[in-house]
Amino acid sequence: MNFELGPDEELLIASVREALSRTDTMAAARNALDGAQPAHLWQEAVRGGWTDMPGLLYGVLVLIECGRRLAPTGLLGHLTAVAALRPHADHPAVAAVLPGLLDGTLRAAAAFTPATAVPDAPGADVLVVDGGVVVREFTAQRAGGYDQSLPLGDVSWERGEGFGGDAGFAWNVAQTLLAAQALGAAEGALAIAVEYAKQRKAFGRAIGSFQAIKHQLTEVLRLNENARSLLYYASYAAENEPSEFGLAANAARFAADQAIDLAARRCLSVHGGLGATWEHDAHLYFRRAQLTRLLLGGQAAAGEKVVGHVFSG
C-alpha cells in the first residue's frame, strides 16, 4: 500500500510548475478582465506531453498545478474528452480523432447537455457530448467573463456520431478534474495568504501570530487536505475500484468546492485593504471560487450524487 505521491509523480509536478512559470498567468487573468487577450497555455501542455496522460492521477496532478496559477491550458475539457474516448479507440468515429488528440494536434472539450458554459469549448477542434458522441462541427459562443482564466462556451451542433461511451464515467472524470483545478487554486490562495501573514505586522507583531488569523488559515489547510485525499481516492478508484468511482469523484468535487470557497475568502480578508484591490491576486482566486462551484452541475449536484451512491452501494 502506498497512498502518497511517488518520485515519478513528484517529477511530473516539478516539470509542470517549471513550464507554467514561464508565463505570468496571474497578470494575464487580471488583464483579460479589462479586455486583453487571455493567456492560453495549450502549447505548453502539448510540449509537456500532458495531452496524453497514463492515468487519471496524472491528469489530477497537472490540473492542480494549472489551478494554482489560474493557468488556462485547455486540459480540463481535453483530458475529460480523451478519457471518454480512450476505451473506444477502435470505433471509427473515435479512431478518426484520438491519435490527433493524444499528440496534441487536435484539442477537445467535453460537453454535458444542455451544453451551456462548457469548459474549454472555445477554440476546441472536437467535442465529446455526454461521454458518448463525437462532434466535429460545432460553434462555441464564449460564455461569461467573470473569470477569463477559465474559458467557457455555450455550444451548439448539428450532427455527431455516437460511439457507445459511458456518460457516467465521463461525468465522474470531469468532476474529478474540475475538483483538482479548484484545489490547486485553493492551495495557491492559501500559500499567498500564509506568506503575507508571516510578513505583515500589526500591533507590534506578525499578523500570522494572532490566533484568529492562524486558525482561519489552518482551517483552510484542513479543507484543502481533505479535498486532496479525496482526489487521490477518486484517481485510485477510477482504475481500481470502478464501482466506487462515482462516490469518490463527487465527494472530491464537493470537498474541493468547500475548500476553494473558504480559501479564497480567507485569502482576501487576511490581506486587509490590499485584498480588496484590483491589482492584488486575491480577487482572481475569489472569482475562480465563485465560478467553479457553479460549473458541471454545481456543488449541490455533487452532494446529491454522493448521497445517491451511498444509498445504492
Binding site: 508571516k198 501570530s209 486558525h215 484542513r222 487536505e225 462516490l247 465527494a251 454522493v306 451511498v310
Partner: protein, 387 residues
Amino acid sequence: MDLSDSAPLAAYRAKIRQWLAENRDHAPIGKPGLHVTDIEPFRAWQKLLAQAGLVGVTWPAEYGGQGLGMIEQAVINSELHRAGLPGALDIIGVGNLAPTVIAHGTSWQKDRHLRPLLQGDEIWCQLFSEPAAGSDVAGIRTRAIRGEGGGWRLNGQKVWTTNAQHAAFGLLLARTDPSVPKHRGLTVFIVPMTAAGVEVRPLRQLTGIAAFNEVFLDDVMLGDEAVLGSVDDGWTVAMTCLMYERFNLLTMLDQIGWQPSMFAEPLRHKLPPHLEQRLASVIVDMLAVRYSGHRALSKVANGEVPGPEAGLGKITLVDAAIRGAQVVTEALGPSALDGEWGYLLAEMQGLRSGGGTDEILLTTIGERVLGLPAEPRLDKERAFNEL
C-alpha cells in the same frame, strides 16, 4: 499510488482473517466504542488477541510484540472491523503509554510492565491533565519531592483520567523542580494505582456514564525505579507519549469501527430532501478522514514520523460525527435522541477536548505545518514558581 496489499501483506491479512473467523465466538458482544463499563469480557478478549499476536504488533518482539509496522496494525484494525469484532480494550495503554515505556524505560521497567499490559492483565492510564492545567500541560502542579534516603513523595491532583478506575498503573507527569522554567522541571513516574495515598473518584460525564476520573495523590511514596526517563526531563517523555497518540489518531476511524456511510444507513428511504446536502457533507468528511488516514499511514510506512497534521483528521471526524448525528436525529425526530444518537452526540462533543482541543491543534499545526509565527508567551523563560 496503490491501496492494494503486497503479496506478504495479503498473506498476513488472510492469516488474520482466518484467526478471527475461528475465534469469533470468544469475543464479547458489542463494540467497546471509546469507553466500556463492564470490562471483564473485553479484558479476556484482549488476552486472547495478544496471545495470537494481534495486539501491540508494532512493539519489538522482545516485549511480546511482533516488530511489525503501522500497516500491519491497520490490516488488523480493518479485519477486526470487517468481522464486526472489538479490538484491544486498553487502547491508550497499548497505543500510547507502553510505546513511551519502550522508548524511555529501563530494562527492569520493560520486563516488569510490558507483558502484563499487552495481555490486558494490567490496564494503564495517563495521569497528565490537572484541574489547573490541561491544554497547558507543562503547567501541572503535582509535586514530587525526593526523599532524604532516595525515593519520592507525591502530592497533587489529576483529572479527566480515562480508565483510572480500572488501571493497575498510571503514567504520571509531576513537577520535580519549580525553580526552573515550566517545561524543564518535570518528571514522569510510573505510579501503582494501588499505592497508599492514591484515591480514584469517578466523574460522571455528559453521556451519563463515568469513564474518566479524578485521581488524588496524598503523600504517595515511590521508589527511584518509578521514574521513567531522566529526572527533570519529563517533557521529553510526555512529548513521546503525545507523538504516539498521533499515531493512533491516524487510524482512528478503523479503530472505532466507523464507516463513512454510518449516518446514511438509518435514513435509507426516509431522508427528507432538505437534509440531503447536509448528509452529503458529512459523508464527504468521513471519507476524507479515511483517505487522509491512508495517506498518513503511507508516510509512516515510508519512514516518516507522523506530523501534527494528524490532528486535522480528529477535528474533521468529531465535527462530521456531530453534524451526522444531528442530521439523523433531525430526520427521525426527538425520540432518536434517547438512544445511541443522543449518546454519540454527547460523547463526540466531549471528545472535542480529549487528545487536544481544536484551538490547541489549530495553533500547533498552524505553526509547525504552515510555518506561521508563534504567539508571544509570558511563561516560557521564567521560573515556574515565579509565574
